[in-house]
Symmetry: C2
Subunit: 312 residues, 2 copies
């Protein structure tokens, strides 16, 4: 474990000191201009950056400060999961408006809890002012053979982790001024990056993966374009969060499940036993122009353009 560099005085550094004290051992070597990060010789470095911004990705009235930190961290880590990478470290840039300063420690607690959950050290960051709360989290991971979006092959099966539609239900309730069902709220507020699941699927022969943070329909289309293939999805096969409809499953964004292509022979029961999470075959990769065909009970369904962040 790297020693922290002693910090000079100043309000910004008092805030950093407080975060560092709260994070304890999950934060490492903070305080220099930059961090030195070691990547094992037999792994390739995988990097992604992800912003979570008040009034774009969440509203203050909906979730707790600790959940804001957790969610932003898991959203960033989810991109490592999509590449089947193991987390190595993260960098946290936070813009904190005056009205959020008293919540910074709680936001930091959520970041720290998510980092611990994913065994990912916090290696640096930046703290600035701003008019809206915004967290940009950059994650570094390592993978011997990173999984990408472009490896899907005609004949592959299409697999999905988890159950969908919860975040859509929660958002619909909040935007209607009502209280979302607890399970749907939890799906929005406390997502989990599917890191261990991705490593398992990689080992089981997965050929491509994407996380479906922009919704299944939109992200399936990205995977189809990247792999130059057609994806055929049977909406009726998708496990749903209680209260969600099949169309919700296609368009619900802020989901952090994985869409994975690979052998039809992957053992879904063993997956569920290992992770307490469904793994469901929802379709196939076909030869054809880049695109997605959605079927419900055998009929073609047009779900529209997919999910755009709810307040943009």
């Amino acid at each position: 474990v790297k020693r922290d560099t002693p910090l000079g005085p100043g309000r910004e550094f008092d805030a950093i000191r407080a975060l560092r004290a709260q994070w304890g051992a999950i934060a490492e070597g903070l305080g220099d201009d930059a961090a030195v990060v070691d990547v094992p010789d037999d792994e390739r470095l995988v990097v992604s950056t992800d912003t979570s911004c008040e009034n774009v990705h969440f509203r203050r009235a909906w979730i707790e400060p600790e959940e804001i930190g957790w969610r932003a961290t898991m959203a960033a880590l989810s991109d490592l999961a999509a590449m089947a990478a193991r987390p190595i470290g993260m960098f946290v840039a936070i813009s904190v408006p005056t009205g959020w300063r008293r919540d910074l420690q709680a936001i930091g607690a959520g970041i720290g809890a998510a980092a611990r959950d994913a065994a990912c050290t916090i290696r640096g960051g930046d703290l600035t002012g701003g008019s809206e709360l915004s967290l940009t989290i950059t994650v570094l991971g390592g993978a011997r053979e990173p999984l990408n979006r472009s490896g899907a092959q005609p004949g592959d099966a299409l697999w999905l982790t988890g159950a969908l539609g919860g975040p859509a239900l929660a958002l619909r309730a909040w935007l209607d001024g009502s209280v979302p069902p607890a399970a749907a709220r939890e799906r929005f507020a406390k997502p989990h990056a599917r890191l261990r699941q991705a490593a398992h699927l990689r080992a089981a022969g997965a050929s491509a993966a994407i996380d479906i943070s922009d919704g299944l329909a939109a992200d399936a289309l990205h995977l189809a374009h990247a792999s130059h293939a057609t994806l055929a999805i049977e909406l009726g096969s998708i496990p749903l969060c209680p209260g969600a409809r099949p169309r919700d499953a296609a368009t619900s964004g802020e989901e952090y499940e994985l869409l994975v292509t690979g052998p039809a022979s992957i053992n879904a029961l063993a997956f569920r036993t290992a992770f307490g999470l469904p793994l469901t075959r929802i379709g196939s990769v076909e030869r054809g122009p880049p695109g997605v065909r959605m079927l419900l009970d055998g009929a073609h369904v047009d779900v529209g353009g997919g999910y755009d962040h709810f307040l943009r």
Copy 2:
């Protein structure tokens, strides 16, 4: 050079496509969940993240969109310079309010120009909405022996690159409603990360370095704390931007010069010849409690707490 991953449809992806087209060869492999980045075997990975936010770090009326992109990129790269690291790649997260959308290409042009100037590829990013323009740039570099803040030794000389006070003059003019002198404005709007200079100083025996983006007084104090030493600085020795006073040199922030400790024997003339930039001995590292003594013409000067970002 990595092939870009084909992107699916959507407004966000149209914007990413346009940026990618503008960046050309300096952008590499954009479009997957995360980027795979190769670090040479004989180098250690150095990482830093830096946010540049409207109304905190700049105002729209002051500088052009292209300068905003350049400046944010160079500010991030400056942290690699402080570690004597060679840029490997960068990740660009931008929050773009509706009123800034038409400027996104110009902002991207500035980012691209700075990336090319530093020979640093753009490897990924994130584009979201927001109420204020905000750029968070994460830079990755490689260094055989990264330089940090904690290596200063009593007896070392204190060296400074460049001339100070320009950003302070520019800010003072803008906040007074007047037009800053061209040279001072240029120092604020078009900083240069001292990457090659840092590599040169590292090879010449530098023991510690910090960039002085928070101002010389504040950042000297950070270096003093990190190295458990006293820094003695003669303000009168600091090269000044035309119109700036020695006190401006101590407190002016948004400077991207380097404060470096190392042998008194470093050849400043050779440095100036190589880089067209002054290298000036401005003081010494002394045994003593962590702190900074500022002297002007032999008398002790208290410059106050240093620079806090101008609008916080």
